[in-house]
Structure formats: structure tokens, C-alpha cells
Amino acid sequence: MTKTFTPTNLKKQSKAEAFDQHNQDDQKFYENVKPQLDKLYREPSEETIAKILNYAKKR
């Protein structure tokens, strides 16, 4: 005869697993989107840099 049982913590486990899965998906998404995010890098103008350097030299 085959014994059957119903796990009592199934619902709780599924929630935790879903949460972990969601976190993993977000992390994976971040790794994938990093190159696109990197493309948004900007530089200040050379004029601004020159002003700062001039100021730094004045004592």
C-alpha cells in the first residue's frame, strides 16, 4: 500500500521560494542592464574642470 501525506509547510515554503526567485531575477536583471546603465555616464565640461583646477591652484 502506498502511503500519502500532505506537506503542511507547502504554502510557506512557496512564498519564501518565490521571494528568493524574485530576488534572483532582480539580480540577474541588474547584471543584464548594467551595460545600458553604464551608457548613461556623463562627463562635466572641460570648462568646469578648468575652473576647478584654477581654483585649486590659488592659495
Binding site: 524574485h22 536583471f29 576647478i52
Partner: protein, 203 residues
């Protein structure tokens, strides 16, 4: 304090802390190296918060003038790291700006054009350029749509390269809160991208 002797060739190997010591010791030229190392991280973070190139330039300049004044006055705390310290100054200036203007960051882009895109010198087709500009604009807009506290953490983590501990200190929250905000930011960005992909596939 023992001054570190350097040659221009070796400057790139000197730590931020030692560059700061050199500046305090009278070597003004090292500011150029500090700027070279951190200008993109700091400037991009400011720009993504204020969404205006010219305003970002002003705040970036003001931040470094404060940095220089503090170093000269001998008030710099050597225990702190240079980049998180400058980011704190820049962050406070951004907050001051919004307070003075009595306005909060809006979710629409003030200026959709990308000045740097206009001076790209490599050759690309009109179609490629349109696609690149669209992708940049879309992602930038999605970042702007994030709630302020999530946007702030994403920018500081990704663009300013700060640790969660540093972000937590800077924004006056616990590390867990900073981590949670990053998770929500990524989750929301992912949702926005999914929505966009669905709308594109539906034509």
C-alpha cells in the same frame, strides 16, 4: 606627516588618501588626478538627480570648491574615504537646490536631448543613432520614474560606486533599508522594461 614624493607617471598608483595628503602638503596638481578618477561618477550622479546639464555643472563645481576649501582649512577627516565624502557634499548641494527652488524632482525629463550624443564622432547610421538615443532616453526616463529614495540608492550604488554601508550613512538610514530600496528600484525598473517590451511587441 611624511610627504609622498611622486612623479607624474606614478600618480595613478597613489591612493586617494595620499593624493589628499599631497594636496594639503602643497601639491595642487594632484587635484587633477582626483578629478580624473571620480569626475564621471560624481557628475553622472548629480546629473541624474537634477536632470539638467548646466545645473549639474554648477553643482559639481560648487562641490569641488567646497572640497578644496575644506582641505585647505585642515578640516578634512582622514578616516573617511574621499569619494563618499565628495558624494555627501554633492548630495547636500542637490538637496539645498531643491529646497531653495521649493520643488521636488519631477518625473518628466526637462531636457530630452543629450548634448554628448550630438558630438559623437564615430560613424553610425541614422537608424543606429535613433535606436541608441531612444534607448538612452527611455532608460533615463525610467530611472526618473522611480520613487526618489529608490532612485537615490540606485544612482549612488551604480554610478557613484558607493557601498551600501556608505549609502546608508549618507542617506541616514539602516543598511537593510538601503538594500531594500535598491531591490525595489531594480524590481520597478524590471517591471517598467517589461511593460515597454510588451507595448513594443504589440506595436
Amino acid at each position: 606627516m611624511g610627504l609622498i614624493k611622486h612623479t607624474p607617471m606614478r600618480l595613478q598608483q597613489v591612493s586617494d588618501q595620499d593624493l589628499v595628503k599631497l594636496y594639503i602638503g602643497g601639491d595642487e596638481s594632484v587635484i587633477e588626478e582626483l578629478l580624473r578618477r571620480h569626475k564621471s561618477k560624481i557628475f553622472t550622479s548629480i546629473y541624474l538627480l537634477v536632470k539638467d546639464q548646466y545645473l549639474a555643472e554648477d553643482i559639481f563645481q560648487d562641490a569641488f570648491i567646497k572640497v578644496i576649501n575644506t582641505l585647505r582649512s585642515g578640516r578634512y577627516n582622514e578616516e573617511g574615504k574621499f569619494l563618499p565624502w565628495v558624494m555627501r557634499i554633492a548630495h547636500n548641494l542637490v538637496i539645498d537646490y531643491f529646497r531653495k527652488e521649493k520643488r521636488t524632482p519631477t518625473i518628466t525629463s526637462a531636457d530630452g536631448t543629450d548634448v554628448l550624443n550630438l558630438i559623437q564622432i564615430h560613424e553610425e547610421s541614422a537608424e543606429e543613432r535613433m535606436l541608441r538615443e531612444q534607448t538612452h532616453t527611455d532608460l533615463r526616463k525610467m530611472i526618473q520614474y522611480l520613487p526618489d529614495e529608490q532612485k537615490e540608492v540606485l544612482i549612488m550604488r551604480h554610478y557613484a560606486d558607493l557601498s551600501f554601508k556608505e549609502i546608508a550613512e549618507l542617506t541616514d538610514v539602516s543598511i537593510n533599508t538601503a538594500l531594500g530600496r535598491m531591490r525595489y528600484a531594480l524590481s520597478n525598473l524590471r517591471k517598467m522594461m517589461n511593460v515597454k517590451e510588451i507595448s513594443i511587441s504589440r506595436g
